[in-house]
């Protein structure tokens, strides 16, 4: 290198370079080579680092812009999440309300079935047995007994083997006294067994009121025997015919 002290004139610059390029294993040369190796290593490492660099090397303005972008995107996504959750809620509640409506419809159908006499009913109630040795009990008497039970809150009533509904008619059977009673067109003969589902005590009391069913029957020479029960089964069904004229009004 320049250690030889010879001046290196300008035209000999290339020669100086060539001389410098001659490898000499001096300690300084080796050290310089080592440092240059470190430099090359550092350059490569830094270049690689820069290529994989994340946000920490960015300028403040870039960071602000990126932050704005990210915030905006987060807002949009949050809005989307809200909308989707709203939709999901609506769908879920829609399913719930549909199920609830179905359940309510089912319950209504059951209640109507019980009222219309198309479903068998059971529950606490009374069984009233009318013995009529004199054959003096008429359809009117039975009807008043049924009406009394209805007034007392009977929810399902059966006379003999006939379900009593709103349209059930009571009539005296042709053939005079003692021939029986036509209940909804079916002939019932004494003893008449009247089953009613409702509050048992209320129903029993309703038949016992002064001037009521029991007294009337006694005057006719008939006997009324009432037993209350926790499980009175009303198994007779009323056949509902399709209405011929009536249609649901809108």
């Amino acid at each position: 290198m320049s250690g030889d002290g010879r001046p290196a004139p300008a035209p000999g610059a290339w020669r100086a370079l060539g001389r410098a390029a001659v490898p000499r294993a001096t300690r300084g040369q080796l050290l310089a080579g080592l440092l240059c190796a470190v430099l090359g290593f550092g350059v490569v490492a830094q270049v690689r680092q820069t290529q994989v660099a994340g946000l920490e090397d960015l300028r403040e303005a870039d960071l602000v812009r990126i932050l704005d972008d990210t915030t905006g995107r987060a807002d949009r996504l949050a809005e989307e999440v809200r909308a989707l959750e709203q939709t999901r809620r609506e769908l879920t509640e829609g399913g719930d309300s549909a199920r609830a409506a179905e359940r309510a419809a089912q319950e209504r159908a059951t209640a109507y079935g019980l009222l219309a006499g198309t479903l068998p009913a059971s529950g606490p109630g009374i069984v009233a047995t009318v013995t009529d040795p004199a054959g003096a009990v008429t359809g009117t008497t039975l009807l008043s007994a049924v009406q009394e039970l209805r007034d007392a809150g009977a929810e399902a009533v059966q006379v003999g083997s006939t379900r009593v509904v709103a349209s059930t008619a009571f009539a005296d059977a042709p053939g005079g006294a003692g021939a029986g009673v036509l209940v909804g067109g079916a002939l019932e003969q004494p003893p008449y067994v009247v089953r009613a589902v409702g509050a048992p005590d209320t129903l029993a009391t309703a038949l016992d009121i002064p001037g009521g069913v029991r007294e009337t029957l006694r005057q006719l020479g008939a006997e009324l025997d009432v037993s209350t029960g926790d499980e009175v089964v009303i198994s007779a069904l009323h056949a509902v015919s399709e209405p011929q004229y009536a249609r649901p009004a809108r």
Binding site: A16, G28, G33, L35, A37, L39, V44, A45
Partner: protein
């Protein structure tokens, strides 16, 4: 020659090893590299001027990198790290350019 070989070896080693720059070194390595480049160009110029000295080169190389890193560190501590880094890079860049110009005049006579 050894220096050029060393540079090549270093580059190849860096490419092959794929080093991960440790976190504590990340702010200082770029400045240190620029400072080292400045030292190398200064050394090259000294070769062409005929005044190259191994010891001077080694000392200037190490001192340059250490001082550059120190300045950046100081700037970081003072809260002006990025500005000071820019200043150091500008100064070193100017030096590199002047050295490169001298080298160019030596080699190309222009």
């Amino acid at each position: 020659m050894i220096a050029a070989v060393g540079l090549l070896v270093g580059v190849v080693a860096g490419v092959l090893l794929q080093p991960e720059v440790p976190l504590w070194l990340q702010p200082y390595l770029p400045i240190a590299v620029v400072a080292a480049l400045d030292a190398v160009f200064g050394g090259l110029r000294a070769v062409l001027d005929g005044i190259f000295d191994d010891r001077v080169f080694v000392v200037s190389f190490v001192a340059n990198t250490v001082v550059a890193a120190l300045i950046v560190y100081l700037g970081d501590q003072l809260g002006v790290g990025s500005q000071l880094s820019t200043g150091v890079v500008v100064v070193l860049g100017v030096r590199i350019f002047s050295n490169a110009a001298a080298i160019r005049r030596h080699l190309l006579k222009a």
